[in-house]
């Protein structure tokens, strides 16, 4: 097969993920809002964002940030990595002109009672020295080359 995926034994607590750096433009914000079907004006209308919301520009919407976090995590796991749970805390907005930096580290590695391998990641989106969003992600990895988290259903999948 033409892809590689990380397995549980490849990782340990304290491992750092490579950073992802991305320069946000107005197109990033508008494309992200439309891709998540979010037509609220603060995600495409700068006049509204400035005069109604009192912020400096349009800003990234939450569902699109979720998509960014998913991409960041599965870039690291490979396609066999299967998301179980994500929790966000939004602390500040991300605007055009911001250089987003995604970084993350492994905070736990475990096998649950049904034999599923789980890694928990602490991921942050920062701009400059300001943390904009923190995200805890629980993602399933195969416990070895033969184990595929995507085959788990019902009682064998406990995210």
């Amino acid at each position: 097969m033409s892809f590689e995926s990380r397995v549980l034994g490849d990782t340990q607590v304290g491992d750092e993920l490579d950073e992802l750096v991305y320069l946000v433009t107005p197109t990033t914000v508008v494309l992200g809002a439309l891709a998540s079907r979010d037509y609220r004006p603060m995600h495409h209308d700068k006049d509204f964002a400035v005069n109604r919301n009192g912020v400096r520009d349009i800003f990234l919407n939450t569902p699109n940030q979720a998509a960014w976090f998913e991409r960041y995590v599965t870039d690291w796991t490979g396609p066999a990595g299967r998301l179980g749970r994500m929790t966000f805390q939004m602390k500040g907005s991300v605007f055009p002109g911001d250089s987003m930096v995604f970084s993350g580290s492994v905070t736990s590695v475990e096998v649950d009672e049904v034999g599923c391998g789980w890694v928990t990641l602490a991921v942050t989106l920062t701009v400059g020295d300001e943390i904009k969003t923190t995200c805890e992600v629980k993602v399933a990895l195969g416990v070895d080359d033969r184990d595929n988290p995507w085959e788990r259903r019902g009682e064998r999948w406990k995210p």
Partner: protein
Amino acid sequence: MGSLPDSVEVMIGKPLYRQMGSFEVERGYIYTSCSSVENANPLFWDDEVAKSLTGGLVAPPTMLSVWFRPHHWSPDQSEPQLPLQVHFDLKDKLGLPEAVMTSNTMTFYEPVRPGDRLTTEQVLRSVSEEKVTKLGTGRFWVIEVVYENQRGELVGVESYTGFGYSRASNSGGAR
């Protein structure tokens, strides 16, 4: 001030706004979402990889709520609809003009696949006492959004914590 109005009390714990998605999960939107964040995961772009790993195409798990946001306009609706209606109901019923989402947890179960027709409902789990924060005075609430596929299988749950409030200076603002 103080205790919750009855009209909010009766909402707690009750499934509300059960709704079927207005269209089937489809590949075009999956591409649009992946494109917006430059997600090259071959599960979404390479049918062979999807077949070998997941038994066929799947949608990115984080797209759960995307399938339910209403179109900005459609012929059978006269007013713009709002996603997460319970959140806006609470703002109205509690007289809190401003609101923010402070945290959001998504839990993913059965994969969502192109062709699926999902159903959702919203459950208000809790509303806090009045609190004073740096934003203003208001209440925190927790709303769960539950998603099922056409076979009645749970595909995901989103849990939102919102804070509805009045600004000290009362100068208008965003919904």
